[in-house]
């Protein structure tokens, strides 16, 4: 199999969730961007599930499968 290219680095991280992890990576000199994430549909789980389903339907045509 192809070895994931990320094994050789550099690792560039998109961080969603705990800001603590972005702070730690940043302090280590890792390139990281922290997303100002908020629960979709105002945290309403039922509505969020409906949005996720719409997400799937609206997803763009398959991107070429090639690991970075």
């Amino acid at each position: 199999m192809t070895v994931p290219g990320v094994f050789g680095g550099p690792v560039r991280v998109v961080n969603l969730g705990l800001e603590l992890f972005a702070e730690t990576l940043e302090a280590d000199g890792v390139e990281v961007i922290h997303v100002d994430w908020r629960p979709p549909a105002g945290g309403d789980l039922r509505l969020a599930a409906m949005l996720a389903a719409l997400d799937d339907e609206a997803d763009p045509p398959e991107e070429p499968i090639s690991p970075p």
Binding site: V6, F7, G17, L20, D28, V35, W37, P39, G42, E63
Partner: protein
């Protein structure tokens, strides 16, 4: 006491930020309790139960943040509320400056950071699957720290990842090392030539730290989450990880750490292991010992996994030992005997690491008899019990116990009053992202618990191991010293800690465990 609350409309902050602000507010003079929670029905019920929900708080919706304070006077409570709001806003301004806009979605983040190749996701479990799938579809590897992710979502995510040649590490993946970068709760260790695939965080942390202590390092550490070897997930990422490490030129020896695989998955796993053309050490906790294969060495503890891998990398032979220093362990036992043996029949394990909790159980059972392992409180505990406090059941709406030390400290203190408990067994886990001083709250709680036990005329023994590396931000030596000063017996590995706990309860085991040194 006056309780005051305010609701910040459509205001989201992660659970660690909320915990930090609550800690700061709680330290203000006259403040008895402070709580910051998103206004979900479950959180509002918790606040109600704690007597911290009044009229203002009840109007909160799930997307709102509730700040509640109980203080000596209404004035102090009102000032503390204002301080909490200031702290919440100040944190962001300090980090980013008031004008810099942050991306609100994964898609816009990828535009801001060209060449992004990995998404680290730790949003609440109910929403994590959706974000992880978005990341995979945009060609990003995924480190999925979130727990409480539905199993069906995990299956879909890992199939998608595999199809795209991407890593999906998790859900419930506490730690990973990829391309020289530690993710999640990672210890500060050198990069090296040992690759690791691990069910979850603390197993990988323990192996990385034991390797560091032996002068070896991790090439890649691929966390797969605790359910990867279930029948549903079918070892999808474990097999992928083994194949990836087999092809990685920087990996000389591979370590696989797992909980017992489902019987239907074992054959697939063994086939994947057989296909690897590098030395492999397998530590499948709880799986019966297996004969030594040509290139696969089966071991039963995490420290043995690290020792065996280090020996294989150096072309040396290696034999498992119950204690690395049996003479030292014997002297320690003699010292403990002089002070007094545990004043109760049972062991209570209070663990922050799931893999460490499992390991302790499997080490203890042959020595002391049945040990129950559970996430919660049983009404009639058997004599020996281990709680995995990092389990999903304990982490809904609150930080992991490796970050939030308060819950475990309360349980340690309460053990002083539990006459059936003679010994408390602990893990103390260091590393980036973890509590800045995990030994501190443990030591304070141990001192209180022992005072309570002494007031009842009995002795409470406490045994621990510290999973850490010398360059960890908490300082390994200082953390060990803090625990020892509180009277905790600190052993060099979790397996040794469990064996030493057994020795304290059953000194007649010395002949078996310490050999001639006894």
């Amino acid at each position: 006491m006056p309780v005051r609350a305010c609701v910040l409309t459509s205001f989201y902050r992660d659970s660690v930020v909320l915990m930090r602000v609550a800690d700061d507010v709680r330290r203000r003079p006259g403040v008895r309790e402070a709580a910051l929670f998103m206004g979900t029905p479950a959180n509002l019920a918790l606040l109600e139960q704690a007597g911290l929900l009044e009229a203002e708080g009840r109007r909160a919706r799930p997307e709102d943040l509730v700040v509640a304070v109980d203080a000596d006077s209404g004035e102090i409570a009102a000032t503390a509320l204002a301080a909490a709001q200031e702290l919440l806003l100040a944190r962001r301004h300090t980090r980013d400056g008031p004008r810099r806009a942050r991306p609100r979605t994964l898609e816009s983040a990828v535009r801001v950071l060209p060449g992004a190749n990995l998404a680290a996701i730790s949003v609440p479990g109910a929403f994590a699957g959706r974000e992880a799938m978005r990341a995979l579809r945009r060609g990003l590897h995924v480190f999925l720290f979130s727990d409480n992710v539905p199993l069906a979502d995990e299956v879909l995510l890992k199939q998608e990842a595999r199809r795209r040649g991407l890593l999906c590490m998790g859900p419930d993946c506490g730690t990973a090392y990829v391309g020289g970068v530690g993710l999640g709760f990672a210890n500060v260790v050198d990069r090296g030539r040992i690759g690791c695939v691990a069910a979850s965080g603390t197993g990988l942390q323990a192996v990385a730290c034991h390797l560091a202590a032996r002068g070896e390092g991790i090439s890649q550490g691929i966390g797969v989450g605790g359910r990867d070897l279930s029948a549903d997930v079918g070892a999808e990422m474990t097999c992928f990880g083994l194949e990836a490490l087999a092809g990685d030129p920087g990996t000389a020896v591979i370590v696989l750490v797992s909980k017992p695989p489902h019987p239907d998955v074992l054959a697939r796993l063994e086939a994947a292991l057989a296909a690897v053309r590098k030395p492999v050490v397998v530590c499948a906790l709880g799986l019966p010992a297996r004969p030594r294969g040509d290139s696969v060495r089966w071991v039963s503890t995490l420290v043995d996994a690290a020792e065996a891998a280090a020996a294989l990398a150096r072309g040396r032979t290696w034999t498992s030992r119950p204690f690395a220093d049996p003479r030292g362990a014997g002297q320690r036992l003699d010292r403990c005997r002089t002070v007094g043996l545990p004043g109760g029949p049972g062991i209570l394990g209070l663990y922050t690491g799931g893999t460490l909790a499992h390991e302790a159980r499997f080490v203890l059972e042959p020595l002391v008899g049945a040990v129950s392992l559970g996430a919660g409180a049983d009404s009639r505990p058997p004599s020996h019990r281990i709680l995995d406090l990092g389990d999903d059941a304990h982490t809904v709406g609150r930080p992991h116990p490796m970050i939030d030390a308060a819950g475990r400290a309360e349980r340690i203190t309460a053990a002083g009053d539990a006459t059936e408990v003679g010994l408390v067994l602990l893990d103390v886990v260091l590393g980036q992202g973890a509590h800045p001083d995990p030994a501190g709250p443990v030591a304070v709680a141990v001192e209180r618990a022992r005072q309570r036990a002494a007031a009842r005329g009995r002795r409470l023994a406490v045994v621990a191991s510290v999973i850490g590396a010398p360059r960890d931000p908490q300082g390994l030596a200082g953390q060990v010293a803090r625990l020892e000063a509180a009277g905790v017996e600190v052993l060099p590995s979790n397996a040794e800690a469990a064996r030493f706990a057994a020795l304290l309860l059953r000194p007649e085991l010395a002949a078996t465990l310490l050999g001639p040194a006894a």
